[in-house]
Subunit: 205 residues, 2 copies
């Protein structure tokens, strides 16, 4: 009964694929065009679902944006964990491999789009508390993986720098986001390569 | 005659203050809300000028955006030059003073808005060649000021790091943009203070 009442109030029962299709389409569009430039109508058109179905799945564009951010980071986190929790590889090699892999990824896509977390940090963080909170949580999770790695490398002596691992990790992550920002403007991998060169010759030593 | 013909074709002669008012209003709005979220109608309303006058002064929103970027960086450059060309101060002190001053500025404004160059790098650089070219030029000018300072400090021995000054300067600038990005998400000066701590204890040493 309860479920019938809900269905009657909200229209047709949401189909599970619809939700996923909307998130996939929204991710592509938010990443390519940005948050303000992407309208809900364009998202439903791209996902090929009826216009009314958006609000069966999401309360608002903001709630949708937050879910897209969570989905995007969730995808990245699978790869991040696979690499950073691979204890067969020395900790500093894991970190280096991570950036080398990401550089190859950006080379393959022509330096466009960059990191959705970074993009929305500058475009949306001032205007949406839920999206900002999600971004902050994901950045913390991400830098925590760097931190564990850096602390391990400090322990083995691979990194002699005695600044706290948490501080180095935050710095590495923020600087990486800055290098990605500059990559977008220069349409070049030079900022990413310089990031790696400086990090591994001057900071994580 | 030529000027009269032009006036007749384009409507009333542009008033010099109108152009400046539009740029001032546009700067405030692009900085606060972003590029896509700011419409031309809102800009002319905020500048309190007749709607038709926008196109007397600017060919397009894109041309306007480029001019706003140039105006913003031009303002910042005056302060940058005054500090970086002050040879009474040792080069490393100039760099340190710059970041300390900027941190105080961001503290005073509650960590919102950030750097317009960084914001538009992520929101617009993929979609507008003229704006991207402007951003790239300004980043080069900005990092060149850091570079001269770093090279001077390497010469005096204040910086022992022997990586090329140009590479260090680009890295410092990009990392600063990354720290500003994280400031927006965390609504805190911690990323900026950590940037300064790491830079001046591990990299520019």
């Amino acid at each position: 009964m309860e479920s019938q009442t809900t269905t009657a109030r909200r229209g047709p029962k949401p189909r599970p694929h619809t939700r996923g299709n909307l998130i996939q389409a929204g991710l592509r569009m938010l990443h390519e065009a940005g948050y303000a430039a992407t309208g809900i109508k364009e998202i439903v058109d791209a996902a090929d679902v009826p216009k009314g179905s958006f609000y069966n799945h999401f309360e608002s564009k903001e709630a949708f944006g937050k879910e897209v951010v969570d989905f995007y980071f969730g995808q990245g986190l699978v790869e991040l964990r696979a690499l950073f929790e691979n204890h067969d590889m020395p900790p500093l090699d894991r970190l280096r491999t991570y950036f080398d892999q990401r550089i190859r990824g950006y080379q393959a896509t022509g330096y466009a789009r960059g990191c959705l977390l970074g993009n929305l940090s500058l475009e949306v963080a001032d205007h949406s508390v839920p999206i900002r909170d999600s971004l902050a949580t994901h950045f913390r999770t991400w830098s925590r993986l760097f931190e564990v790695c850096i602390a391990e490398a400090q322990k083995t002596g691979a990194i002699g720098n005695r600044l706290p691992a948490s501080m180095l990790a935050q710095f590495v992550l923020n600087s990486w986001e800055g290098a990605l920002l500059r990559m977008r403007v220069d349409r070049s991998d030079a900022p990413l390569k310089e990031f790696v060169d400086v990090m591994f010759s001057s900071l994580l030593v």
